[in-house]
Amino acid sequence: MAKVPVQFTLNGSEKAEFIDSGTTLLNALRDKVGDTSPKGGCHQGTCGACSVIIDGELRLSCLTLAETCNGTAITTTSGLAEGGVLQPLQRAFLDTFATQCGFCTPGMIMAAKVLLDHTPNPSRDEVVEALSGNICRCTGYEPIIQAVLTAARANSQNAA
């Protein structure tokens, strides 16, 4: 089976792998690179658990072929905490009890991060829209919405 090279930065560090052509980014990250923070909840693009950030844009890694990501910068939830210190967004998920089973959490955090990167003080409707591609079956969404709004408030206080 023909292997193709892929090279990208993952959470700031260079990665290069040989993969089977046609491998999804999700499988490449999980099985080759060893970053299991993106989750395979559906492999259909309908749950958002595999969400990652590619060059600043939210993407579904289950529908993205790894070889189309050559030269990109990829961010995953496992790369957010620096030196073991949680980012305000992660902290907010803890403080608002926004995680239950935790399976959707990394994808939710990716979706929320992209929102806050572009819109530091989002309205509730903007938060709802930003999370709309991510399924949670445990929480009923409200604690997650509150987590993102809490993180936004923390961001704006830090900025001020």
Binding site: C42, C47, F97, S132, T139, G140, Y141, E142, P143
Partner: protein, 334 residues
């Protein structure tokens, strides 16, 4: 077009634990050499927070802060038998097993402390901060850290305990059905307020006010998680969910999260949760199982609210816009 508003109420109860009992759970508790406590189980955390709650129960029983307790669970090479996480049984069954095991461990701990302090074990108490004190003479004390070291290296004692909880199985009497399904019941009452679009049959749930009686809220924030998520699922069951939308016809079953309908983050009802606590006689610190019942009362409450709004009864779940619209058309035809 008219948006019509209505409200409905429902009240329910729900048994804690496997129906008819007969569902054992065991726990082991032991101290490490420096006085941390390990709870060993084979119970499963589905996201409801089993590990955290068992740590708090163990900590409460032994008399140490929760962060001194580690829960090792769901490894069949180490954990003793648990029937499983279902039927609102996890906290009740495993919690009782942990209490029993922790009490036994605590007793050994106090005995070792008594030897160190040269008093009777019955004269000792824990301060909840990691120390054992002589009742009425708190200046005379020893840390659990030192007690554990002493037990391990000086006195050869195992600060440990075994716990087992079993509700004996009830067998229904064939002709009368006399039986004991459960030893304790949680309760709930929900009032739902909806708007119904009488041209499309679309329902918006405006508010749900849920009152739950759950015995004891062992961790109020985690109870809230369960109850809020459960209330959402109840509304979801009422209005959205099925794998067979044309039951009993098998066609058109959804195969993804686009087709399997559940309320999105833009469909949330304003949700109020109120918790009452009537401790159950056999619950761990009085707790009952809230995990399942919290998703039940919203379904009939929403159904009754839809009737209140537009005067049609939908007796088939889910209460889809199509079912409402068909009923409204039938109502208009009569």
């Amino acid at each position: 077009m008219a948006i019509r508003r209505g409200r409905g109420v429902a009240a329910i109860n729900y048994p804690t634990g496997m129906n008819l009992g007969g569902d054992p759970t065991q726990a082991l508790v032991h101290s490490t050499p420096t006085g941390n406590f390990m709870v060993t189980l084979s119970s499963v955390d589905l996201g409801q927070g089993m590990k955290q709650i068992m740590a708090q129960i163990c900590a409460e029983t032994i008399g140490v802060p929760t962060d001194r307790v580690v829960v090792d669970t769901a490894d069949t090479d180490t954990g003793p038998h648990c029937m499983g996480t279902f039927a609102s049984r996890g906290t009740h069954r495993a919690g009782n097993a942990v209490i029993q095991a922790a009490k036994e461990a605590r007793q050994v701990m106090l005995e070792v402390a008594a030897e160190e302090l040269e008093v009777n074990a019955s004269d000792l108490e824990t301060d909840g901060q990691g120390n054992i004190l002589v009742k009425g003479a708190p200046q005379k004390s020893i840390s659990i850290f030192d007690v554990a070291l002493s037990a391990h290296f000086k006195r050869g004692r195992s600060i440990s305990g075994r716990g087992m909880f079993l509700i004996p199985r009830s067998y229904p009497e064939k002709e009368t059905g006399a039986m004991k399904p459960s030893t304790c019941y949680a309760h709930a009452c929900t009032v739902a307020e909806v708007e119904v679009d009488d041209e499309t049959g679309e329902v918006t749930v405006l508010t749900v006010k849920n009152v739950f009686e759950i015995g004891r809220a062992l961790n109020p924030k985690m109870v809230e998680q369960q109850l809020v998520g459960g209330s959402w699922m109840g509304i979801s069951h009422a209005l959205y969910e099925t794998t067979e939308p044309y039951y009993p016809n098998r066609d058109h079953g959804g195969t993804d999260f686009n087709q399997y309908l559940m309320p999105g983050p833009g469909d949330l009802a304003e949700t109020e949760i109120i918790v009452l606590e009537r401790p159950s006689a056999d619950g761990p610190y009085g707790a009952k199982g809230p995990g399942e019942m919290c998703a039940n009362p919203q379904i009939p409450a929403v159904a009754n609210a839809v009737f209140d709004a537009v005067g049609v009864r939908i007796d088939t779940l889910p209460i889809t816009p199509e079912r409402i619209l068909r009923a409204l058309k039938a109502q208009a035809a009569n």
